[in-house]
C-alpha cells in the first residue's frame, strides 16, 4: 500500500518497506546506565586503550656523555659574578666554618675584622663549588663542605685574622688561598709567623753586602793591622798544608 501510494511521489528513487517496526523498550538516553548488550561489552573490552610501553625511569641509566648543566638561574649567575670579582680583587681568601654563631657574635666578628680591612662574605656552597670547578682554584673544592664563610681581604693579613678567630669559639679555619697559593691551617700559621717583606728584604740586602762592608772596614783600619792579619792567615794556610 505504501509502495503504490508513493509510487508517484518517489518515482524510481528508492522504495519504502512495507512494514516499519517501531523500537520499543527503554530509549537510548536513560537516567540509569542501560545494561549493555553482551556483544557490545565484548567490543568495549577488545577496543580498550593500550598505552605505549614505558621506557626506563629517568635516573635508571647514566647517560654516555656527561649531561651539561641545565639552566642556571639568573640569581646563581649573579652570585658567581660576585664570587669571581671577590677572587680577582682579594689576595687572601680564607674559608672558615661557623658552627652556630649568633647574630651578635657575627656582628662582633665583622667589627673586629673590619678594623683590619677583612670582609666576611656569604655564598651558597653550590655556587662556590660550580665556580671553583671551572677556575684555577679547583683544588679548593674539598673546603666547601658544611656551613662555610669566606673571609676575604685585599692585603694578606693572616696574623690579625688568626688572632680574631682565636677569640670567637665557633669559627674554625679550614684553609686559605693566599696570593694564589692554597694553604692549610698549619700553612696559614707559618705564613703568619713570617716577618714583613720589608724586613726580609732588609736582611737579604744586609747579608749580600756583608762581605763588601767587612772589606771596607778592614781597609779603613791601620795598614799594619791588615799586614798582621795577612801574615797570620799565611801561617794558618801553611799549617793546614
Amino acid at each position: 500500500m505504501a509502495a503504490t501510494l508513493c509510487g508517484k511521489l518517489l518515482p524510481k528513487k528508492g522504495w519504502l518497506p512495507l512494514t516499519q517496526s517501531i523500537r520499543h523498550g527503554s530509549k537510548a538516553v536513560t537516567r540509569h546506565r542501560k545494561p549493555m548488550h553482551f556483544l557490545k561489552q565484548k567490543l568495549m573490552a577488545v577496543t580498550e586503550y593500550i598505552p605505549p610501553k614505558r621506557g626506563p625511569p629517568p635516573g635508571a641509566y647514566r647517560p654516555q656523555t656527561p649531561v651539561s648543566q641545565e639552566q642556571e638561574s639568573p640569581f646563581t649567575r649573579m652570585l658567581k659574578r660576585d664570587l669571581a670579582a671577590v677572587f680577582q680583587d682579594c689576595k687572601m681568601v680564607a674559608v672558615v666554618q661557623n658552627n652556630g654563631s649568633t647574630s651578635e657574635d657575627m656582628l662582633m666578628l665583622k667589627n673586629r675584622l673590619h678594623k683590619h680591612g677583612i670582609k666576611v662574605k656569604f655564598f651558597p656552597n653550590e655556587v662556590k663549588r660550580s665556580f671553583i670547578r671551572g677556575s684555577i682554584y679547583s683544588n679548593m673544592a674539598p673546603l666547601f663542605i658544611g656551613p662555610t664563610v669566606l673571609l676575604v681581604s685585599e692585603e694578606p693579613k693572616a696574623k690579625e685574622m688568626l688572632s680574631t678567630l682565636r677569640v670567637s669559639p665557633q669559627m674554625v679555619l679550614l684553609g686559605a688561598c693566599i696570593d694564589g697559593t692554597l694553604l692549610s691551617v698549619q700553612g696559614v700559621a707559618n705564613y703568619a709567623r713570617l716577618s714583613k717583606l720589608a724586613v726580609v728584604q732588609g736582611e737579604l740586602a744586609g747579608g749580600l753586602s756583608a762581605p763588601a762592608s767587612l772589606t771596607a772596614n778592614l781597609m779603613r783600619r791601620h795598614p799594619a793591622h791588615l799586614t798582621a792579619l795577612l801574615r797570620q792567615y799565611v801561617e794558618q794556610q801553611g799549617k793546614e798544608a
Binding site: 537510548a28 536513560t30 577496543t47 652556630g100 647574630s103
Partner: protein
C-alpha cells in the same frame, strides 16, 4: 612615650655592645642568616584584567516569555554526546565543566547564582553564565491520571546540557585556589557530574585525549570496527555509537575510551 621607648632600645643595644656575650637575658639568639639559593615564585600580574560593571551572575527567568507556549517532544538527543557549543573559555579563567549530560532546572540555576554571588568577592572576581535560561518545556500529567488523553501540560522548563559544556565562568584578579572551593561546592550539587577546570587544565584534558588517540597501541579501535561493521556489530549498536565511538552511552561519559 616614643622617646622613652627609643631610649630603652638604644640602652639595651649599647649594653649588648659593651658587655658582649656576658648578658644572658638580653642575648639575641637569632640565627645568622646563611647564604641560600631559594628563589620565590613571582606572583601573577593582573594589570591587564578588566573587571566588568556587573560582576555577579545575572538572574535567569524560570519561564521564557513567549505569548504562546508550545509543547515540545522529548528530544533526549540534546543530552547525548559531546557539546559542540560553549565548550571553550571566553572571558573567564576558571569554569565548571559538565562531565555528563543532564537537564538544569530553574532551582539549580538559582542555587548556582546565589552560591557564587554570595561567596565571591565582587571587587576582584566576576562570573558569567555559559548556559541559556530554561527554554525546553517539560510536560507532566496530573497525579493519578491514566495513560492516554493527550500530552500533559507544561510543568516546567529546563536547559539541556551536554558533556564538555561550560556552565559558569569565573574570572578576575584571582587564582584558582581562591575560587576553587566555591565552584566545587556548586559542582557537587549539579544533576550531572561536573568538574572545576581552568583554561590550562581544560587544554591538558583535551590534549591527553588527543594523545591517547594518537599513541594507542591497540590496532583494534571502536571506530574502526563499527565503521566497517565488522562481525555485524551494528546490529547491537545504536547509530549514535557511530558518531561517539563508544565514549558516550546515553547521557553518560565513559572515561578512558579512545
Amino acid at each position: 612615650m616614643m622617646i622613652s621607648l627609643i631610649k630603652t632600645v638604644v640602652g639595651s643595644v649599647a649594653a649588648l655592645g659593651a658587655h658582649g656575650q656576658q648578658h644572658g637575658l638580653l642575648h639575641s639568639h637569632f640565627r645568622v642568616l646563611t647564604a641560600g639559593l631559594k628563589t620565590l615564585e613571582i606572583p601573577p600580574d593582573y594589570s591587564d584584567v578588566v573587571l566588568p560593571e556587573k560582576p555577579k551572575l545575572k538572574f535567569l527567568n524560570k519561564v521564557p516569555n513567549f505569548k504562546k507556549a508550545r509543547k515540545e517532544m522529548k528530544k533526549l538527543w540534546d543530552i547525548q554526546g559531546p557539546a559542540k557549543a560553549a565548550n571553550t573559555f571566553t572571558s573567564g579563567q576558571y569554569a565548571i565543566v559538565a562531565m555528563g549530560g543532564g537537564y538544569l532546572k530553574w532551582g539549580h540555576l538559582e542555587m548556582i547564582r546565589l552560591t557564587i554571588s554570595r561567596k565571591m568577592d565582587s571587587r576582584t572576581t566576576f562570573a558569567r553564565w555559559r548556559i541559556n535560561a530554561p527554554y525546553k518545556p517539560i510536560t507532566r500529567k496530573g497525579l493519578g491520571q491514566r495513560m492516554g488523553g493527550g500530552k500533559g501540560a507544561i510543568d516546567h522548563y529546563v536547559t539541556p546540557v551536554r558533556f564538555g559544556r561550560l556552565i559558569v565562568e569565573v574570572g578576575g584578579k584571582v587564582e584558582l585556589g581562591e575560587v576553587e572551593h566555591i565552584l566545587i561546592e556548586v559542582a557537587k550539587k549539579l544533576p550531572f557530574p561536573a568538574k572545576v577546570m581552568s583554561r590550562e587544565s581544560l587544554e591538558v584534558f583535551q590534549k591527553t585525549q588527543a594523545d591517547m588517540e594518537a599513541n594507542n597501541q591497540n590496532p583494534w579501535t571502536f571506530k574502526r570496527i563499527v565503521e566497517g561493521n565488522m562481525l555485524g556489530i551494528r546490529k547491537v549498536l545504536s547509530p549514535f555509537d557511530l558518531k561517539n565511538h563508544g565514549r558516550f552511552t546515553g547521557k553518560f561519559y565513559n572515561p578512558g575510551r579512545v
